[in-house]
């Protein structure tokens, strides 16, 4: 029994945190969120230099980086590339890459494996894709996209360079991880996952992406906790720091408590994915039920502790809050996840 990151993993965390702190102070992250592109493409080179895209990183290193990326609300397609595209390709792509699975017949990764709405056609060794994919994360800032589509032999996954004229950005609450539609009409594509084999690939995507989002949620919750506790120490009312009032301090203590539990579950989920543990599905689902809502709760509590300032557009808190909500709704709902857990406990 050893529930701690290694010294090397902690060093990676320290390096990531200090780079993000220097490069992504909250006002810069906010500025990027309101910019047209939504991120700084130069940062991809920096991530490479820092080792975030090294091929030999394990899920535990990704977990550390996802948490730190959440803490700084790093805007860039790193999670899509590592959590969505990497598991399909079986290796880390060198350029920003995302995955398009949802369409009007399929919302989550499981139903995408059986949807027949987007089709792939083989005409003499050349594949073409037709159909509209919805809610594709980071599509407008990715260089390539992996597309789930149905062919004669079943559901497979194809790759193509992002055709800019086929991308239709949609308005989203969270401007730091945007969504877009992908409209394909006989677009040429390269076969990556054989028709009929997409189910397994998407199950791997689901485990990795959700476990990493739980770690990201832990980073967001920690940022919200730090922000509210700093404010509670400094803000004076009635001649005392407001953190000395139990109406404030007990709220903060509850966030701390919930964060401890979520952190444990998020790390454990990452470990279960890393080692292919027998209970990996459950580990990922349980972590998601805890961590996303914990980040939402931490942001809401921070907003209450900060008072009016935390409710303004200028304060970065709403950016974290909206990301926390993004995470909570990814590939399922609290209810659907708890239904899965209940089935494992109660059904024969």
């Amino acid at each position: 029994m050893d529930f701690a990151f290694s010294e090397e993993q902690e060093m990676l965390r320290t390096a990531a945190r200090s780079w993000l702190k220097a490069q992504y102070p909250p006002d810069r992250a906010a500025g990027l969120a309101d910019s047209e592109q939504g991120w700084d493409p130069q940062s991809w080179r920096e991530l490479e230099r820092l080792g975030w895209l090294d091929p030999d990183l394990s899920m535990l290193e990704y977990a550390v980086l996802a948490e730190e990326a959440g803490y700084a609300l790093y805007p860039g397609p790193w999670w899509s590339t590592v959590g969505l595209a990497g598991p399909v390709l079986g290796r880390l792509p060198s350029t920003p890459t995302t995955l398009a699975w949802a369409d009007s017949a399929a919302a989550d990764l499981r139903s995408a494996a059986i949807s027949t709405e987007t089709t792939a056609t083989d005409s003499g060794g050349t594949w073409t894709l037709s159909g509209t994919k919805l809610l594709v994360p980071d599509l407008a800032i990715s260089e390539s996209v992996l597309v789930v589509a149905a062919a004669e032999g079943g559901t497979g996954i194809w790759r193509l360079d992002v055709p800019t004229d086929a991308v239709l950005p949609v308005s989203t609450m969270d401007k730091t991880r945007r969504l877009a539609e992908l409209r394909l009409d006989s677009a040429a594509a390269e076969l990556i996952v054989e028709p009929g084999a997409a189910g397994n690939a998407l199950a791997t995507v689901r485990r990795r992406s959700v476990a990493l989002l739980s770690c990201e949620a832990v980073g967001i919750a920690q940022w919200a906790l730090d922000t509210s506790s700093t404010h509670a120490k400094e803000r004076l009312q009635f001649g005392r720091p407001i953190g000395s009032y139990q109406g404030v301090s007990h709220q903060v203590a509850d966030v701390y408590t919930s964060l401890q539990l979520s952190r444990s579950l998020a790390y454990r989920a990452a470990w279960a994915v890393d080692t292919g543990a027998e209970d990996v599905e459950e580990a990922v689902t349980v972590a998601a039920v805890a961590a996303g809502p914990c980040a939402v709760q931490a942001c809401e509590s921070a907003m209450q502790v900060l008072g009016g300032i935390g409710f303004t557009w200028d304060h970065p808190l709403h950016r974290f809050y909206k990301r926390a909500q993004w995470i909570t709704g990814f590939d399922g709902t609290g209810q659907s996840r708890r239904a899965e857990i209940a089935a494992a406990l109660l059904d024969p």
Binding site: S229, S244, Y256, A342, L346
Partner: protein, 387 residues
């Protein structure tokens, strides 16, 4: 990071499973769950644990312990919880008095008490709270006055679990009335058979007399029974409380795991297994249990690296107490009108009725939830003190 047992841990677990299977009665798994104090069953079980070397797993060999790592203790609690084995009778001795004596006690005190705690020959109770002293422990007013080679103690203690069967009491007193706050307090190991000690049981809302009042009238306590030096009682008491919460998490979580298994059985027994609201609640409780379980693993790793429990124990205890209240109330709610039946005609002869009522004490005992939130806010988050 690795959640799997090491070879050594796996061997210990396998041996323990065999021992539990051989030692518990053959029909143990089919019996309804037991609850309440179960004194005679626990005394007998304590003796078996001690003889097999499963009491005091992390305590040093020279004081009757097994000298094993904390991970073995955690495995023990997991496995014993899994089969709902009886508990060791020396709750206060194992979790509070023993660790305090190991850290602050004299050699003679260690020799006299540690092994006897493990074997169940000495049962400890706790004399901290008073009618006027609850969460504000520094306000104790039980007086200890030096008279020759002993102290004369006068005062009253309350909410003292196990005092009615205890041999010794960890007793916190004010020895210097001129001092205020944390200074001038003295911590004793009081022999409960000393003249002037009177114990009056208090019945709890469950009907069980688990806790007591202790009246102390001119009780003479030899100076050798002071723990650490006179006047340093506050620091000794803090060691006691840190250990109370630090090592408690595992035991409580393994109990909660048992309760969740019973909850699943209850949901099926009352035919509510297809109700989506019931299913959602069961899943929420399960997520809380898992959060506690893995947080305990994380604390355990810290404990194994530093050797001392940290204030994180407050997080586990706070969270456990509130989850346990939710779980037991939900179980009772499932029973509908039959929830009123607490005798032979009810599910497991009043098990949930007892557990639900008992759970209301969980947010009061071993640090109220309010005090624990203060500790978390002040010591873990670093907010300014509230007083």
């Amino acid at each position: 990071m690795d959640f799997r047992d090491t070879i050594d841990e796996a061997e210990f677990r396998a041996g323990l499973r065999r021992w539990l299977a051989d030692t518990l009665p053959a029909d143990w798994a089919q019996r309804p769950p037991t609850f309440g104090q179960q004194l005679e069953e626990r005394r007998a079980w304590t003796r078996k644990l001690f003889e097999a070397g499963y009491a005091g797993l992390t305590w040093p060999n020279e004081y009757g312990g097994a000298g094993r790592p904390y991970s073995h203790q955690a495995i023990f609690l997991e496995e014993a919880g899994r089969v709902e084995a009886p508990e060791h009778i020396g709750v206060i001795g194992l979790g509070m008095a023993g660790p305090t004596i190991r850290i602050h006690g004299t050699e003679a005190q260690k020799k006299q008490h540690l092994s006897a705690i493990l074997s169940g020959d000495t049962i400890f109770c706790q004399g901290f709270s008073e009618p006027g002293t609850g969460s504000d422990l520094a306000s104790v007013s039980t007086r200890a006055e030096l008279d020759g080679d002993s102290y004369v103690v006068n005062g009253q203690k309350v909410w003292s679990s196990w005092a009615h069967i205890a041999d010794y009491c960890i007793l916190l007193t004010r020895s210097d009335p001129a001092e205020r706050g944390h200074r001038g307090m003295t911590y004793f190991l009081l022999d409960m058979r000393t003249p002037g000690v009177e114990v009056r049981p208090l019945r709890q809302i469950t009907g069980d007399p688990e806790f007591n009042e202790i009246f102390l009238s001119d009780v003479r306590v030899p100076i050798e029974d002071v723990v650490d030096v006179p006047g340093n009682g506050w620091n000794v008491a803090m060691t006691t409380l840190l250990n109370e919460r630090g090592t408690l998490g595992y035991a409580l979580t393994s109990q909660l795991e048992g309760s969740l298994r019973r909850l699943v059985q209850t949901v099926k027994a009352v035919g509510a297994a297809d109700d989506p609201v019931v299913r959602d609640t069961v899943a929420s409780l399960y997520v809380e249990l898992e959060g506690l379980r893995y947080t305990n693993f994380r604390s355990l790793t810290t404990l194994m690296k530093t050797g001392a429990p940290g204030p994180e124990g407050s997080v586990s205890k706070l969270c456990w107490s509130e989850t346990n209240q939710r779980l037991t109330s939900f179980a009772l709610e499932l029973l509908g009108t039959e929830a009123q039946l607490d005798g032979d005609g009810s599910l497991w002869a009043g098990f949930w009725q007892f557990q639900q009522l008992r759970s209301r004490g969980n947010t009061i005992e071993a640090g109220t939830s309010e005090v624990l939130r203060n500790i978390i806010a002040e010591r873990l988050v670093g907010l300014p003190r509230s007083r």
